[in-house]
Symmetry: C2
Amino acid sequence: MNNSQTIREILSKAGLRPTRQRLDLGDLLFTGVDRHLTAEMLRDEAIGKNMQISLATIYNTLHQFTEAGLLREVAVSGVKTYFDTNIGNHHHFYVSGSNTILDIPDEQLEVHGIPVPPEGMEVSQIDVVVHLRPSRDA
Amino acid sequence: MNNSQTIREILSKAGLRPTRQRLDLGDLLFTGVDRHLTAEMLRDEAIGKNMQISLATIYNTLHQFTEAGLLREVAVSGVKTYFDTNIGNHHHFYVSGSNTILDIPDEQLEVHGIPVPPEGMEVSQIDVVVHLRPSRDA
DNA sequence: CTGTGTGCAAACTCTTTGCATAAGT
DNA sequence: ACTTATGCAAAGAGTTTGCACACAG
């Protein structure tokens, strides 16, 4: 259960002050099922729930949450930046054109044979994006 | 060898008229080793070789080439769109922050356990991005 | 109090578009 | 000739920034 108290704790652990805006966004992001959202989608949701927050603060907060490991940035294609509330190991389906992202649970998908990174580098994350298109026999 | 004649053939097969700009960009893109470039990088290169071409035409041409299957768009992270002159099966290392993309030859890397796509969808492409960061023991 | 966070608007980057001119077939 | 491509400049989308005010510790 992600009540307001829990979100205070999440913010506290992340070293972020529990401002009203962060608590509000935390409610939207860390309550309910995992999702993929853009800054604009999140703002529309906040507005829909009569929360008062500016787009700039949404961007700030999304980046702060991402740095704190509470969100993950997803690079699929196109210009928009998606933030994933699922920070566990998993990968994505991406439906070209429709801007739809779907989770692929990690257990189902494995990557083998990753080459040794160049000198002085280490692997921080592996993103697999399976691009989908409508099948023509549908 | 990708001489001007060969590029004419490439364009012809793609159904693209062999304009001076397309031939010039073809020279830059389809000659030499495979690379990952943005529109701006390509323009700088063209200018450096005294080619005359506008940025709008570079964007147009990159997209036309991509649609024709002569280039591949690479989504890593951040705002810029990279185009990959290597259209064979392969994946990428991405060094966060440095905007550096490196090829991982396909033979070395395998993806297993891709779930069945949703009804009416089929897999068109699989992109694996291995994110790298400086190792702290370096 | 003191420093961090927020909001607004303007700036910024990357990319696309509209339309007149130029070039290919 | 007829059609497609190009170039320019302006518009557009998404994101970031600067600075004054507000709020948390």
